[in-house]
């Protein structure tokens, strides 16, 4: 346990730039863009003499200051969606970082020969591989989620500040947002995300463990080329393959499993899943743990999981004997 903790810590030391700095810089960049846009809009507005009165009257807030529940719910959903969307942006950046992290995870130290140092310590290969899987499935998403939520809150604060500046009394609607629940739900969905990302992580790490050079190319070429061959065989009528099925069930799961909300593939047709509508379904509902975790009922999730674990096991075995010179 202690060894594993320190191995994960080592991964964080090594990849601080990708796990911490990349999401943080993304958030800061988006905040700067938002500030620039708002400031630009204000100044342009002044130039053309336009005013944007956002006071209570214009926005239809009754004199009593109490909005009807449906309107409040809509506003709350929009506010929650801003928070959620901000987290999604950061998680998307993290997905790219983790993609390349996995590809390099069992290859880079062989390339720079530092594997010889790690191998001089009493660490079993399965712990090394597991620590890297944990970094990809827990450490990176948790950091990205936290940064994403902070980013979302700052963005909300910025919008609220702008609204106040224009005379709107935000206190009316602030109670309609659920920042804490949204945050808790996003974090609670990380295990589901990890389970659905495992086939991709397993595949990338297997390529990383096997490749004598250019693991990125192997990881990409094998699924894509096999997909093209399937498509071609289908096209010339030599065999009855469904290239579309192959793409969504093999290629996409090997390569694109790290994207945010990756479990939605499996919950599409699940009964009880809500469709888009601001009136009946709030952002909070969309993040509902039960409806999302219901995607675990899909057989494909488990097949992917088994495949992912099998590939990781293979990666551990390959790691044991591959010491390139």
């Amino acid at each position: 346990m202690k060894t594993l903790y320190w191995l994960v810590k080592r991964e964080f030391w090594e990849h601080r730039g990708g796990f911490l700095r990349a999401p943080a810089i993304t958030a800061i960049a988006f905040l700067v863009i938002a500030i620039m846009t708002i400031a630009g809009g204000e100044i342009m507005g002044r130039h053309v003499g336009a005013r944007f009165p956002l006071d209570d009257k214009n926005l239809g807030v009754p004199a009593s200051g109490i909005m009807d529940p449906q309107t409040l719910q809509r506003v709350g959903t929009i506010l929650d969606a801003i928070l959620c969307g901000s987290a999604l942006i950061v998680l998307a950046v993290m997905a790219i970082v983790v993609f390349f992290y996995c590809i390099g995870s069992l290859y880079d130290d062989r390339k720079d020969r530092s594997i010889l140092f790690w191998e001089s310590l009493p660490i079993s290969n399965w712990k090394t591989v597991l620590s890297k899987v944990l970094s990809a499935t827990v450490v990176a998403p948790v950091i990205a989620t936290i940064i994403g939520v902070i980013f979302g809150l700052l963005l909300l604060a910025l919008l609220i500040f702008t609204a106040i500046f224009h005379g709107f009394n935000v206190l009316h609607v602030l109670g309609a947002a659920h920042p804490i629940q949204v945050t808790v739900h996003i974090i609670a969905l990380i295990p589901l995300y990890a389970l659905c990302a495992l086939p991709t992580i397993g595949w990338l790490m297997l390529c990383s463990a096997c490749a004598r050079s250019m693991p990125f190319l192997w990881a990409l070429v094998i699924p894509l080329a096999s997909n093209v061959i399937i498509w071609w065989l289908d096209l010339i009528g030599l065999a009855q393959f469904n290239a579309g099925w192959y793409f969504s069930h093999i290629t996409a799961r090997l390569l694109f499993g790290l994207r945010p909300a990756n479990w939605l593939d499996f919950s599409h047709n699940m009964p009880g899943t809500a469709t888009d509508s601001l009136d009946h379904v709030t952002t909070l509902d969309r993040l509902g743990l039960i409806s999302n975790y219901a995607s675990l009922g899909a057989r494909d999730v488990w097949i992917g999981l088994i495949a992912g674990i099998a590939m990781l096991t293979a990666a551990i075995w390959v790691r044991r004997w591959r010491h390139d010179n």
Partner: protein, 285 residues
Amino acid sequence: MNAVITANGLSKRYKNAVALDNVNFEIQPGRIVGLIGPNGAGKTTALKAILGLTDFQGRLDVLGMDPRSQRDKLMEQVCFIADVAVLPRWIRVREAIDFVANIHPRFNRAKCEAFLARTKLTAHQRVREMSKGMIVQLHLALVMAIDAKLLVLDEPTLGLDILYRRQFYQSLLEEYFDDNKTIIVTTHQVEEIEHILTDLMFIQDGKIVLNTDMEAMGDRFAEVMVNADKAPVARQLNPLDERQVFGKSIFLFDGVDQHRLAELGEVRRPSVSDLFVATMKGTYA
């Protein structure tokens, strides 16, 4: 005492070459063994086999364990510096110490820090900011703080200047080595380790061609400086090697009675490098 390493019929074949050919040897505790051979002779393969980094045929027993199947446990007792400058470039001195201290059950943090205090390394420094010599200092500090029974060094000082090389072996000898420890070292800079070795192993084309302790080597091999007039007599005694210096001939003999040699000229113990060159004659021909 039990041998630290016992190899029986140790063999390793690559696709088109034999790296180790049915090798047998035994290494006792408390020895410093020099494993010396030309490039491609199988030194590194032998070390890799001992460290459980490669598969092999035959039997190999390291500290009572099979390095292939019990590697994780074995590495608690065995340490190695495989090559110069293999520390990960991103790691900081402090991180490296923290990591090893928490991973290795036999690591002594105080010892490591005491050693580093005598170098110019600072806690915050990254490996990528260090010179090659400093990297080796850090690696050595980490390794020396581990109370291992067996230390394997594969060309540990390649490319270092003489100050670092001296310091490296001196530290090892003065602060690390004792009767319970065994060190195996391979290097091409034979002259520098010759005085610290207790045993010598020559390896050529995957075979051990000489395996002796240094005392026995002095008894068995002799170098004689012979005047030109006595040279024909010396040649009749089947010298391993002959070379000319200042009009005199220097002969290297294997197993010839030293009293008899004394009649021919001044008898000396040959240097390991001269012995090596004589033994490996024709390797690259």
